[in-house]
Subunit: 386 residues, 2 copies
């Protein structure tokens, strides 16, 4: 692997992270997952932006959501049509300022964008692990990230930031490695996956597992249950938006060739075309077994059950927390985010809560928002800064 | 067909409709659908409860939702495990009082519970119509019901009542046959299917149509895309509940055999087991092509577009309207129901709006609610009664 310091950057004043490249961290030793199942070793793919300071304590870890990856800012080539998934948020002078912070983002364990997961080749067989890959939990993802932080020689983290499943990792970071983390910014998340969220995950899994091409998880790399995965993604995508945002974005607009109430089951409405496109592009970049593993990790996430109560879960936390919720998020609604802060406060921790009045649904945390930027910038510049 | 008067009833004081049986109305003449496509004739399966009075003007039409049918009250046999789908609402002395009203409920055109639909045999080929069945709209469903009302010799309707897709039919009844209908009770519905609702319908259709057993709609009766239909139903079922009701009903409870955080993709949580059961029981009673046709009818429903504006749509309405919304219904949320009443009022019609503070989601209209019963009872007993 390359050292983080090798990454070429455009000049800081450009406002963009610029050209970046992924790195691989190979952990050669065996890793026992929370399930008790053992990985003989693993790889994590990651990117870093900005420079690690001399005291090695200016790092910020960005945690990605279900379908995200390690490429959260910058571009891989000058011809890249779009930058990393949180490029609006991370860069020189941006909310997460790479002139100041050394930003690290890691593809989760169990993922399919370069980190070890069910689509990785099992060295013992030369074929994808499939369902023989150990079950992973949010805690496993975080423990693996910590091994990478240690490998990079990080002394401590200025912050861990993430939305949705990323927010779960943020919480787990704070309670698992309290002395290591100064600030937590969980967004649009929950301390406990709800029945409704489990239900949506289960329908997605059923769509995948009932697809004959799933074949009990045994399919060649790049193959697999494309239809089932597309259906799962289409459905999940609805939960990332809101009624209002879909109305704004698509309403009942019809595709150009279908101006009359055409009587067909082909695409008629723009929203249908959009969803089909989401499904189709997803199957070209995501592995169906990873989708099963990661949604199961979400389902299992329940800090209340794992630690007896949410206050007990947070008892060890030393970091200061800023929890950000979005009014129109119905997947991880405001009350589930508020609950996190209330428990932290009851446990005697420093925590604040912000609810942004966006109408863009769960995905709001990914979208441009001067309000969000200002909140995060101010929180990262608060008295506990270096 | 039998005449409605033939139906055996348990004594009125029992509080139950008792034993009922379905009837078939065969319309032998051709019927031109809104699409311009022509049905050579059609059958509607229906049930009636209570007695038609001498002036033939005490009828109430009940309209069913997407997965409903004509059997809305009473039982078909003394051994029936459960009664019709709205038995709590309809019966002697109940909110819709069969001691007073002659209640009629019809399986919609395009359905699969006895009325003509894509699973009906095409007399020309002896095989199911499949995709050669004409596209139907909410208006087609209502026009077919009116032909049955005429056949039964009904002079006018005391009320038309329905929730969800049933509510759409209620609105269409009011503006299509204004002089025929005295009262409208649309519940948990909309005058215009939203982008989000279209999106959920589309994912369900994709699950069905991408199932190889769908075979472009050409499959034997009782066969077809069972996997796709089950996935569609599981997903749709989530939209009928609410986050709060699922939390209440299932929370994160695990199935008995899975007390530990078992690492498996089999059923672990009760909510998963519930959804799988919903999917499995649905495929034994519903036809996948009907699911496509009826969801498309929902998508097309847009009174604003059809009549220029909602006020214009309601311009001809003579009935008095009671619109009932449920606070936790996120499929057809309160504002979409309120919009109906506001447009009726702007059009100079008599209309009132009630929002019930249930937390049970869209399906609230089907559930026991003394508050709902009282509202409906009072509305049906208002000054415009016979």
């Amino acid at each position: 692997m390359n050292d983080a310091e090798d990454i070429p950057l455009l000049p800081p004043e450009s406002g963009e992270v610029g050209l970046v490249e992924p790195h691989d961290f190979v952990h050669p030793a065996s890793f026992t997952c929370e399930s008790g199942q053992v990985l003989p070793g693993f790889t994590l793919r990651y990117e870093t932006y900005g420079r690690l300071n001399a005291t090695r304590d200016n790092a910020v870890v960005i945690c990605h959501a279900l379908s995200g990856d390690h490429h959260c800012a910058g571009i891989h080539a000058l011809t890249d049509p779009k930058p990393g998934w949180w490029n609006n948020f991370i860069g020189p002078g941006k909310a997460v300022d790479t002139n100041r912070f050394f930003v690290l983002c890691v593809n989760v364990l169990g993922g399919c964008q370069g980190s070890s997961g069910p689509s990785s080749l099992d060295p013992r067989t030369g074929r994808p692990f499939g369902l023989t890959f150990p079950f992973v939990t949010i805690r496993d993802m975080v423990r693996a990230q910590k091994l990478l932080c240690d490998h990079l020689g990080l002394a401590s983290l200025q912050a861990v930031i993430g939305g949705s499943m990323g927010g779960m990792q943020v919480l787990q970071w704070g309670l698992e490695y309290p002395a290591f983390v100064r600030r937590l910014i969980p967004m649009a998340t929950t301390a406990r996956e709800s029945a409704q969220a489990i239900a949506f995950n289960e329908v997605g899994r059923q769509a995948i597992m009932q697809d004959p091409d799933w074949n009990h998880g045994d399919y060649p790399r790049g193959g697999g249950p494309r239809v089932g995965l597309a259906v799962a993604r289409m459905m999940a995508h609805i939960t990332y938006l809101s009624d209002a945002s879909m109305d704004l974005k698509f309403g009942r607009r019809r595709k150009a060739a279908a101006n009359n109430p055409a009587y067909t089951f082909d695409v008629q409405f723009e929203v249908e075309s959009y969803l089909r496109h989401q499904g189709e592009s997803f199957i070209n970049r995501f592995d169906a077994n990873s989708y099963l593993y990661i949604t199961r990790a979400l389902d299992h996430f329940d800090l209340t059950a794992a630690y007896g109560s949410l206050e007990q879960a947070f008892a060890a936390v030393e970091a200061e927390t800023l929890s950000v919720a979005f009014a129109s998020d119905w997947l991880f609604p405001p009350e589930q985010n508020r609950e996190i802060v209330l428990a932290l406060l009851r446990a005697g921790k420093r925590a604040s809560y912000a609810e942004l009045a966006t109408n863009l649904g769960h995905d709001s945390f990914l979208l441009e928002s001067e309000e969000l930027y200002a909140l995060v910038r101010s929180f990262l510049g608060s008295p506990s800064s270096p």
